[in-house]
């Protein structure tokens, strides 16, 4: 069973990498890009029966640093 976890910096946390990507897009002429946030997607291959509560625990303990990051889970 595949599970997708998306980790993003929380709103309000400065994302210097996203800003650099935004600048690069502007340099390519994509003037309509007003903001870029860069995050990561983690794909887990888990045994059938793994619960969302267990994946949440994985996020809280390791996959995200909840001081600066938020996460969402797609089972």
């Amino acid at each position: 069973m595949k599970v997708r976890v998306q980790v993003m910096l929380k709103a309000g946390v400065l994302d210097p990498q996203g800003e650099a990507v935004r600048h690069a897009l502007h340099a390519l002429g994509f003037d309509g890009v007003e903001g870029v946030r860069q995050g990561k997607v983690i794909e887990l291959d888990v045994t059938e029966g793994t619960t969302e509560a267990q994946v949440t625990e994985m996020c809280e303990k390791l996959l995200a640093n909840t001081v600066i990051e938020s996460y969402s889970i797609q089972m």
């Binding site: 946390v13 400065l14 210097p16 990498q17 303990k61 390791l62 996959l63 640093n65 001081v67 600066i68």
Partner: protein, 222 residues
Amino acid sequence: MKAAVITFPGSNCDRDLAVAFEAAGAQVTRVWHKDVALPEGVDIVGIPGGFSFGDYLRCGAIAANSPICRGVIEHANRGGYVLGICNGFQVLTETRLLPGALMRNAGLKFICKPVGLRVETVDSDFTAGYTTGEEITVPVAHHDGNYQATPEVIEELRGEGRIAFTYTANPNGAVADIAGILSANKRVLGMMPHPERVVDEAHGGTDGKRLFAGLVDALTTA
């Protein structure tokens, strides 16, 4: 005084940290990340700089969950001393022994140069050898040293005298120019600059020497 210096795969300042402790008079044991317990009677644990586990996932995140770090957390919770430098500071925030997080430098570049630091408090065994407001020069070498925490956390750190060092010219965008912070009991210090790289005349500076000397003094007489 007994020190333990941890080595993770990718640590690269572990030997320098051990040498700095030894030069100050400490008895040092090197500890591997898979060891499940710290050596008996350890007073202070040193978590060195480097790129533990290749900085995979987040800097320090995998190391913070390694077997030995459970021992380090127990040691700190018992009132033991911990010094985390550079990647070691990142490990300490990932274990939540210290608040906040270290993010990519605001200028996105890896910074490797000597920087000016202001000693913000001498009310800790790490900083007792300095004078408040004193300016020292210590090298930094990091890509992710941009310390960030909520305004409430920063207020708390300020109010409790837990900001140990600030940058005189902020190189990485860290909030409130923070270069190093202490735990509530002042026995855990995390800092991005490398005091172990300025403990010998041959290093080009000795401003880090008093940090190690102060620790050995405090923990030997204790």
